[in-house]
Symmetry: D2
Subunit: 341 residues, 4 copies
């Protein structure tokens, strides 16, 4: 059976042109910072966002965790929303490996409200833990691919700067926000002290993320990347795939967004509670009379459609370059059938 | 100058009878679990709350941290309110030393709402961090000595049990809740899987807390206490002070509550925004036109009155056995004078 | 049954005069650094060793761990001997709570050889972990109360200084080295960047150690002590016991050393392999034909004598102020009987 | 200038056939364990060593660290030699991220002596840290590519089994030991509970290692790999390179060993102290009258030859598939010239 896979945009696979680019990549030993294709990718991405320094990492988890751990000492505090990828899907790494305390609040669609943030941030003193870093996620995965409006981000930036604190963006899917809103990448880049972006989700590269940070962190970032097990040698093979993705697959994310909207319409027509997708993620909230998410996912799989059980009664579908409109229609049909049992 | 010290109820000092009890204590080596006075105190406290096992610790931080670390693995998650002592005043210990991820939400007066809690708790799977422990604080320090009504605690207990999770209570000042509400200690004890109580705050012992947990944790709790540096030898000296405090200083907390109410009236009369104190803590919110908390604290000190700057515009006063009604009046006067500049 | 307890000198109990001193102690809140008896003890001990700053801690584990963690970052390295208390009896705390890597070598009687130390210390670079701290133990517990000769310590100091590294001394029983060799405490104090000393072993106080370090660590040391759960409030009660011990129980350690020598003679006469004790610890190596250490300890206990099984075939006896010559004779007899089975 | 690069065998680059294999690789999402090329590589490697389970990782550091952290709890102990890669070149990761205590001893050529090991291993009890894991390194990097004889490994295995403990092998260069000694890979595989092997050193793949462990660790290993940031998506691209390397580049390591021997002869002829290389690593110990290692490395670089300063007076040269006999001769000449200054 051929599967229509909407579990995540991570499942995207490299096509022939990207593969050719990887096969032709000039490489070196990136632990010695001598892989020319990696270095070129890092400079290319830094330039896209107007950031001073970039470092290639095997995964987005590593990119986020490097930003957090380089900025927050053990026993220090990271403030973010309670549904952020960093606290939901990174295995507690910031705390487990870096000793970082996370402090969060529940926020609609995962988007922090500046007023809540003002209540969360704390100035440290000898008897009180102070906040060391604030993080936002753009677009927000668990929020359903939700997008922070630029004004909200700007307000957060000002608030955070008022405390003299750095602001991190988990921008794994910032490309989707850029395409959905038209905000230039440099417009986002100017707001953050550190920023991680992913090459292997909607962009379709096989692996790799890029972390941007102030340049003074370079030595420590390379060291920490090595400690975490991310010091790959001839990483230019992967970097070449990422570069190809950046040059060819950003603008086409608009198609994924279009597919997501179509999928939402089909699902709503079939009687499901589905919010308007802002980008490429569709969340389906299951009612009390419907099967739970795990059952839906299992039945859809039997029908050739893969979706994620994202909560007991929450199904997530993610559109991407390897699924077309017909695939979305197939998925909507399968879910409707699954819900009927 | 003699100071009226309302910074905290931790400043309470042992009187002659408590000192005599300590001097007469039979002792042994508590690392070998052979100090009879410590053992007796542990059994006494466990019995007060109807809990199966108790362990003496040098401090409340250690008691809370033991409960968290024995229950939550590194990379696991503790859910609690965003102003809890555990995330505000324990130096990030759960994360820094135990690798525990904390996930929180802002709550009025620090008291978790069961509906919010239901949104916070997460069932883990291979791709998602699951919650391992939920904690409440009774009374709530940063919430202004606020008290969870028994029904709210019962609802939280049911919710948490529905997920098969344990519930911890930071009960440093649970004595105040008991006295203020009349809820029996065993009524509280029945609700929690683990519970820490403090002997050196309102109760007036020089040092020490007691942690209660399921008895199967005993060996690991002793080990972890030793690792944290809490394996004191002839600790019976301190335990004797705690025992005296428990036998003589619980009911008198009602006086502290009365003093707090009087202090609040005086401060309100003087034009300050002060909520009705539920127990022995009075929080004064300073207006934009008033000096900030640090300035108030500094001026009061010059006037012989010690208070805590608990936030940029928040002053905390805590009543206790070493301050009488006259002391409270003196404090109210000093604060009023300080606010005028 | 009355026990003769030679398991450790930690079992020493406070007598009437020490208890009276504790009962009379003036106290304050030591988390605010306001306990006068604690402050006086800290200054007294710092002065004894000619060190700039001292901090009272509940236990020796906490004192050592503070020194290590304040000096070595997570991922940094502590070099010491393979049988040091820090790696044998502190529950892996430096690594578990501070992320510190320990690197060791086996050394006769636990005393590091400068030539081995030179091979162990490593200068860090981007690809190699460098050493951050070296530690010695004086006297050495698992080495059998062995004493570093001053010349050896001086050679180690010079070697370590040549690398620009700090040197820590776990001086839990440095009093015994001082009394055994006549080396002034300031002679030891001058050699170390940080130094922990214990009040509750041979000196007989109920609890407490003192850490000495450069004064610039004070704020961080208080913070870390609080994080570890060592921020006791009216700790002056314990500090008064420690002060009494320092003023009355140092020189008498010579008696314990004499008792250890007598015990060794008795045990050798009874056919055991026993090295000459240098201070107050006697190690008995059991032969293949003798019962193992656990069996010896169990049989002695039935005979009213408590000893430690310190390894599968190693028994440790520690003399102290609560055991006299008759007690030592009783112990020798019990061990001989136990070995016969 | 074209460089002759003997800094490490990590600098090896993929050739056309390996690149073609990578470009043609069938891929899937390896976080979902669905990448067929990764799965096939894992099975292939597990079969080579007769091990039950294998997991692909981006780097050897991650493979080693997974083995350590899955086997040793925080506060537990790993015993190994003092020059092991795990404590020299992995940035303290076991301690920093896993809270693991390392205990080591100095060993000639990095090869543990069973008698020393017997003294290092400790059985835990409530007051003593016990050993949880023993590790060896085959071949040993800092030992100069030294090879454990099979009998020594077998003796260590028996000793370790006697304590009921697992034995890990850092087998980054176990291929070299296999080729140098003729010991079958399964002969090694049978000795270890866990084993990491590297594809990107002498074998010439661009990146990747493989960890073998008991199959019951699979779920936790995947989780921990994700937490460390090693959950790459379409990792089959890299796995295809590793598979090609395994099928084509193992036996040719004999050439590297031959080159190392030739290099050693040339260097000895030029007056340097050089031990007989056992595999592909040549260590040059510089005398007091010669320039130090950093100076040698710098001068060689100016001469087009890259070598590693491996200690203040220690130079390391590593032969590999991208350097031929002429390159080795060039290197020997450059070093001789550099030493003359
Ligand atoms: Ca992909
Ligand atoms: Ca840590
Ligand atoms: Ca940890
Ligand atoms: Ca008190
Ligand atoms: Ca004692
Ligand atoms: Ca390579």
């Amino acid at each position: 059976m051929t599967f229509t896979d909407l579990r995540s945009d991570t499942v995207t696979k490299p096509g022939p042109a990207m593969r050719a680019a990887m096969a032709a990549a000039e490489v070196g030993d990136d632990v010695y910072a001598e892989d020319p294709t990696v270095r070129a990718l890092e400079e290319y991405v830094a330039d896209l966002f107007g950031q001073p320094f970039a470092l290639f990492t095997p995964t987005g988890v590593m990119a986020n965790q490097l930003a957090v751990r380089l900025t927050v000492p053990a026993g220090g505090e990271l403030v973010l929303d309670a549904d952020a990828h960093i606290v939901a899907h990174e295995d507690g790494a910031a705390s487990a490996q870096g000793g970082v305390q996370t402090r969060t609040t529940l926020s609609p669609r995962g988007l922090l409200d500046p007023a809540d943030l003002a209540r969360l941030i704390r100035v440290g003193n000898p008897y009180t833990v102070g906040t060391d870093l604030v993080a936002v996620e753009q677009t927000h995965n668990r929020g359903g691919g939700s997008v922070y409006p630029l004004e909200r981000l700007t307000a957060i930036r000002e608030l955070v700067s008022g405390y003299g604190l750095p602001l991190h963006c988990d921008g794994a899917r910032i490309w989707n926000a850029h395409v959905a809103t038209g905000t230039p990448l440099r417009g986002y880049g100017a707001l953050f002290d550190s920023l991680s972006v992913c090459l292997s989700k909607g962009l379709g590269a096989p692996a790799g993320s890029v972390l941007m940070m102030p340049a003074e962190y370079e030595a420590e970032a390379r060291r920490m990347r090595h400690r975490m097990g991310g010091g790959m040698r001839q990483a230019g093979i992967l970097a070449a795939g990422g570069r190809y993705a950046l040059e060819h697959h950003v603008e086409r994310l608009a198609e994924d967004h279009e597919h997501a909207r179509e999928l939402a319409v089909l699902l709503r027509d079939a009687g499901f509670a589905v919010a308007d997708p802002e980008t490429n993620i569709v969340l389906v909230e299951l009612g009390e009379r419907q099967p739970d998410a795990a059952a839906i996912a299992e039945r859809c799989r039997a029908d050739g459609v893969l979706v994620s059980a994202f909560g007991p009664r929450l199904v997530r579908l993610v559109t991407h370059m390897d699924v077309d409109a017909a695939g979305c229609a197939r998925a909507a049909t399968a879910i409707a059938r699954a819900a009927k049992g």
